[in-house]
């Protein structure tokens, strides 16, 4: 979809800065605003990263704090909390990918098989709902529904005799992990279908007609036409998701926090917040944040290379 190849030679060949500014000063003026904003709010924060080589004390500031070299990183990698947070982050991100990635694909295939346009439209609209809700609302609703003794899910299951005592969905770490992951699936499943459904519309209808004539069953059509037709979309999205393996969503973790599930819920975003803002170990928190950013960046670059090597568009 690139339009880059179409050039307007009369306007772009070898302009000097003087000419360019005279002709396009309006555009440079417009750019002042966003550039000023990123400098003020993003770039201005980068020098603060030097505190990873310091023993930063809020009272002393950048100038008064001692330089300690790589000591902070050594401390971080010896920190049991960090190791636990790192392990949890990677484990949960992988599990998340495993359960949250395929769901929209399956759902898109099912929606594509639906033959009632009206019903399909209503279904899609309803399935999009969770995407528009904040994690606070999702978390609050989940707590209401899943409370061991008073939550409606447990109440109904006990009434129907499926279980004899309430399941601690969000207050025991094993159950918490499953609930947390499933809520993630639920939140993203409908929205995720959009891109696949769009890819499916790009598949030629003639292929299906030919397959019908040859007597292909529905499953055969899905397997041999639809899935190969959206393969490149799947690959690109998968790679993009791999690039996010080090990330962690603070809000999603924070709304499901409680003391009983800390073993699993304690992930990098929580580590940074608690070590940093809550207990003022600024240098350590920053070092972990930097580690997370850098690894994330490297993963994105690798993913991009990978996608391009496979002949896809790439991400950058």
């Amino acid at each position: 979809m690139s339009v880059r190849s179409v050039k307007a030679p009369s306007l772009r060949e070898r302009t000097t800065w003087k000419k360019a500014i005279r002709r396009d000063w309006h555009l440079y003026v417009l750019l002042l605003l966003p550039v000023a904003l990123v400098i003020l709010f993003n770039y201005a924060a980068y020098p603060g990263l030097r505190m990873v080589f310091m023993d930063y004390k809020p009272a002393k500031g950048y100038d008064g704090s001692k330089w300690v070299g790589w000591e902070t990183f050594a401390k971080v990698f010896r920190d049991k909390d960090f190791i636990r947070a790192l392990k949890n982050s990677i484990t949960f991100n992988l599990l998340d990918l495993l359960v949250s990635f395929p769901t929209p694909i399956i759902l898109a295939l099912m929606l594509n098989e639906l033959r009632f346009p009206r019903f399909k439209k209503v279904t899609q609209t309803i399935l999009y709902l969770p995407h528009f809700l904040s994690w606070v609302i999702i978390g609050a609703v989940a707590y209401q529904l899943f409370k061991p003794s008073t939550g409606i899910v447990n109440v109904l299951m006990m009434k129907w005799g499926w279980i004899s005592e309430g399941i601690p969905f969000l207050t025991e770490k094993g159950h918490w992990a499953a609930t947390y992951l499933l809520i993630g699936v639920w939140q993203g499943m409908g929205w995720g279908t959009i891109i696949y459904l769009a890819a499916i519309t790009g598949i030629s209808g003639e292929l299906y007609e030919a397959a019908m004539i040859d007597g292909a069953s529905r499953m055969q059509r899905i397997w041999h036409i639809t899935l190969p037709g959206i393969r490149s979309t799947i690959v690109v999205l998968l790679i993009m998701n791999l690039g996010r393996l080090m990330g962690s969503n603070f809000e999603r973790l924070d709304v499901f926090a409680n003391t009983q599930v800390r073993d699993y819920q304690y992930q990098l975003a929580i580590y940074v917040y608690e070590k940093g803002l809550a207990s003022s170990k600024f240098s350590m928190a920053t070092a972990v944040g930097l580690f997370q950013s850098l690894v994330g960046l490297i993963l994105v670059l690798i993913s991009d290379r990978f996608a391009k090597a496979l002949g896809e568009d790439g991400l950058l």
């Binding site: 179409v6 360019a20 550039v35 020098p47 978390g139 917040y273």
Partner: protein
Amino acid sequence: MAKKEREFDTVNDGSHAIRKFTIGDFLIIFILVILCLTCILPFIHLAAKSVSSNTAVMQKSVVLWPKGFNVDAYKSIFQDGTLVHSFLYSVEVVLIFTALGMITCTCAAYPLSRKRLKGRAFLTVILMIPMYFSAGLIPTYLLYKDLNLLNTMWVLILPLIYSSYNMLIMKNYFQSSIPDSLEEAAFLDGANNFQILFRIVLPLSLPIIATLSLFYAVGRWNSYADNKYYITREGLKMIQYKLYQLVASATEAQTATLSEAIEVTSTPEVLQAACIMFATIPIICVYPFLQKYFVKGVMVGAVKG
């Protein structure tokens, strides 16, 4: 692009006429209905709970229909006023944020979409780096502190009004949907860049302006982490964070407390349900109308420039 019209409306296998309703169809419909119910029923249940009597809720007999209908919980919310204030304040923040966000986005996207702009590649990189590399929570926090932004409304607005992601979507739209020839013709007729932007480009971009405004607005409305990081003054907290403090953090103690001054007759259980509904109903009411714009944004975002 020509296919866009039928994107979500029809089955794309040209087989309507010959297919019969099979067990497979039934299974698909069954699964989809179940999934839809998981999206709707929780809210119906909470809505029912929020207008039920305390005893009915305590006996756990409220499922999807209110028992002992009353609106006491909502009355307390309005008498107390903190949630209502927070709601109105959030609306104010979202409106300012969205307006400034769209201005910034246009200021970045339009120049960068002009291929003849000298220094375009460099400026694009400058504006994209923050998306891939952030300084992290602590340096950012200290920066905002130095800028005297902590505990102001502006800390919720200014740092986020420039969004690389939204800028890319807008830039892609300008590049793919507005023909260069149109702009060049105007240029040759003596129009300057501002005139081209305001008279030609923006009027042709209303769909994407609507979409991105909604991205900005819903994003701001829904997030609360920055409230938690940077705001300690009660009056400056947005509704999502208020709700977080009222319910999400009160798992064990279950103390949904509004201010002490007013008399609350509802049990915490009912009050929590009412608070959740108070914050959720606006979104549930508007999202069916917004979602088609969102879908459009996802599609444009998927097309790389």
